[in-house]
Amino acid sequence: MIRFSHVVKEYPRTGLALQDVTFRVNKGEFAFLTGPSGAGKSTILRLVIAEETPTSGEVRVSGSLTTGMPRAQIPRLRRRIGVVFQDFRLLEDRTAEENVAFALEVTGAPRDAIPARVSRLLTQVGLASKGTSYPKELSGGEQQRVAIARALVNDPVLLVADEPTGNLDDRATRGVFQLLRDINAAGTAVVMATHNLELVKRNSYRVIEVNRGQLVFDSAEGTGGAATVTSSTPA
C-alpha cells in the first residue's frame, strides 16, 4: 500500500527533513505515525499524498511510484487516498452535505448519484441529521467527521490522517478514533499521525515513530524500542 525505500527529503531553506526512511504499510493495515513536533511526520504524509517528492529514494503508494510522477497523474492517485487534517479544511460557506458533495463533484461523479452517496457517507460518520449545517454550526468532532466523510467519497484504499484528534476534546477524540477504526475494519488502510500517546498505548495497532527525520521505532519490525514511544510527551 505504502512503501518508503531509503527516502531522503531535504528542503533548500530548512535542510534535512527525512533521512534514509524505509518502511512499508500493507493493505488494510492501521498504523500510528508518532514523534515530536518537527520530527518529520507531516513530511511523510505529504510524500504519501504526492504533495512533495523525495530528494532521493523511492515512495510508492497503491502501486504508483510518486517520484517523477507527471503532475497530470497526481489527481488520479489522490482519488485513491482519503486525507484528513487537524484543522478539518472544510469550506466555511458550504453546508456539511455540500462539502462532501463538492469532493464528488470535482472528481466528476455522476450528478444523480451524488445526493444518495453524500447521505450514506454522512450516516456512516454519524451526521445524518446535520447535513444542512454549516461548519461553524458544528462542534470540532462533528467537523472532523464531515472531513472524514469527504475523505471517503471515492472509496479510498488508504486514509491518511494528520493529527485528526489534535483539536478535539477526549470525548470527540474517542468518537473520531472509533470512526477511523471502523473504516479500517471495512478494509481501508489507515495511517494516523498523532501526538496522543495515550491513544497509541490504549490500542494495539502498529506504531512507526520518527524523530529528527529518522525512523527510530517500528513495532512491526521491532527496531529501536517501545521505550522511545512511551517516553515521548503526549500533546
Binding site: R79, L91, D93, F102, A103, V106, G108
Partner: protein
C-alpha cells in the same frame, strides 16, 4: 459546465466587493487605453487630412499642344501611384490666385501664368521617395518646364507621421502593458482569496484543468463586462470632447468590438497566468 458556472457565481456571491473591484479596475485600465487610442486615432486622421494635400504641380511650356497635354495626362493617370490628374489653365490659375491671395485682386491678365497639370497621389504613396520618383517621371516630358511638390514640406510631414506613429505604438504598448499588469494583479487577488478552496480541490483529486476552468470563465466575464464599461466611458468622453472642445472621430464598430474582445482576452490570460502560477506552488 453547470458546476463550473455555479462555482463562478459562488465566487462572485462570496466576494462581491472584490468582483466589483476587478471589473472596475479592468474597466478603468481599458478606459485609459481607450482614451489613448482615441487620441492616436484622431491625430492620425488629422495627419492624413494634411497628407491629402500632397500634390505635384507640373508647369507646362507655352504653346504646348492640347493633344500632347491630354496624352501626358492619360499616361500619368495610369501610374499606379496616381489618384487623380487635373489640368489647370492660366485662367483657372489666376481665378484661384485671386480668390486666395489679395495681391492678385487687381490682376486680370492670365497670360503670364503657365498652364499646369496637378497630380494627386494615392494614400500610401505620399512618402518623399515616391513623390520624388513620380516627379522625375513627370519631368521627363519635353514640354514640362518645371515640377514642384514642396519637397521640404512633404519630408517634414512624413517625419511627423513617422514620429507620431512610433510614439503612438510605444505609448500604446506601455498603456497595454500597464493595463495587463493591473488586471493581472486584481485577478491574482481573486485567486488568493480562493486559495483554501483550491488546496481542498487539489486534495480531493481535482485536476488542474478542473481547478482552472471557473477562474478562466470568471476572468473572461470580468474582462467582457470591464471592456463594455470601458467602451461606454470612452464613448462618453468622446461625446463630451466633441460637443465642448473639438470635433473628434470615434472608433468604428469593428475596432470598438475588438477592444471589448481584447478586454476579455486580457481577463482570460490574466486568470490563466495567476491560477497557473498558484497551482505550480500548491
Amino acid at each position: 459546465m453547470r458546476l463550473t458556472l455555479r462555482e463562478v457565481l459562488l465566487g462572485v456571491r462570496r466576494s462581491p466587493l472584490l468582483s466589483t473591484l476587478s471589473v472596475v479596475t479592468i474597466a478603468f485600465s481599458l478606459f485609459a487605453f481607450g482614451l489613448f487610442g482615441l487620441l492616436a486615432l484622431n491625430v492620425d486622421r488629422a495627419l492624413r487630412g494634411v497628407e491629402e494635400h500632397v500634390e505635384i504641380v507640373a508647369f507646362l511650356a507655352d504653346g504646348t499642344l492640347p493633344e500632347s497635354i491630354s496624352a501626358a495626362m492619360g499616361d500619368i493617370s495610369a501610374f499606379p501611384e496616381v489618384a487623380h490628374v487635373d489640368q489647370v489653365s492660366p485662367e483657372q490659375a489666376l481665378a484661384r490666385a485671386r480668390a486666395e491671395l489679395p495681391e492678385f485682386q487687381d490682376v486680370f491678365d492670365a497670360s503670364f501664368l503657365p498652364p499646369s497639370i496637378e497630380v494627386r497621389l494615392k494614400e500610401g504613396h505620399r512618402d518623399p521617395a515616391t513623390v520624388k520618383d513620380v516627379t522625375q517621371r513627370i519631368q521627363s516630358y519635353p514640354f514640362v518646364d518645371d515640377v514642384r511638390y514642396g519637397e521640404d514640406w512633404v519630408k517634414k510631414l512624413y517625419d511627423i507621421r513617422n514620429i507620431a506613429g512610433a510614439a503612438g505604438l510605444a505609448l500604446g504598448l506601455l498603456f497595454a502593458a500597464v493595463a495587463v499588469i493591473i488586471i493581472g494583479t486584481t485577478i491574482r487577488m481573486t485567486v488568493l482569496a480562493r486559495a483554501r478552496e483550491i488546496s481542498i480541490m487539489r486534495l480531493v483529486g481535482a485536476t488542474d484543468s478542473f481547478v482552472r476552468r471557473p477562474f478562466l470563465i470568471d476572468g473572461f466575464l470580468k474582462g467582457l463586462v470591464g471592456g463594455l464599461l470601458a467602451l461606454l466611458l470612452t464613448w462618453g468622453a468622446n461625446a463630451v470632447i466633441s460637443q465642448n472642445l473639438i470635433q473628434t472621430t470615434f472608433f468604428d464598430p469593428g475596432t470598438a468590438m475588438l477592444g471589448v474582445i481584447g478586454g476579455s482576452i486580457i481577463g482570460v490570460l490574466g486568470s490563466a497566468l495567476s491560477v497557473g502560477r498558484h497551482l505550480r506552488r500548491v
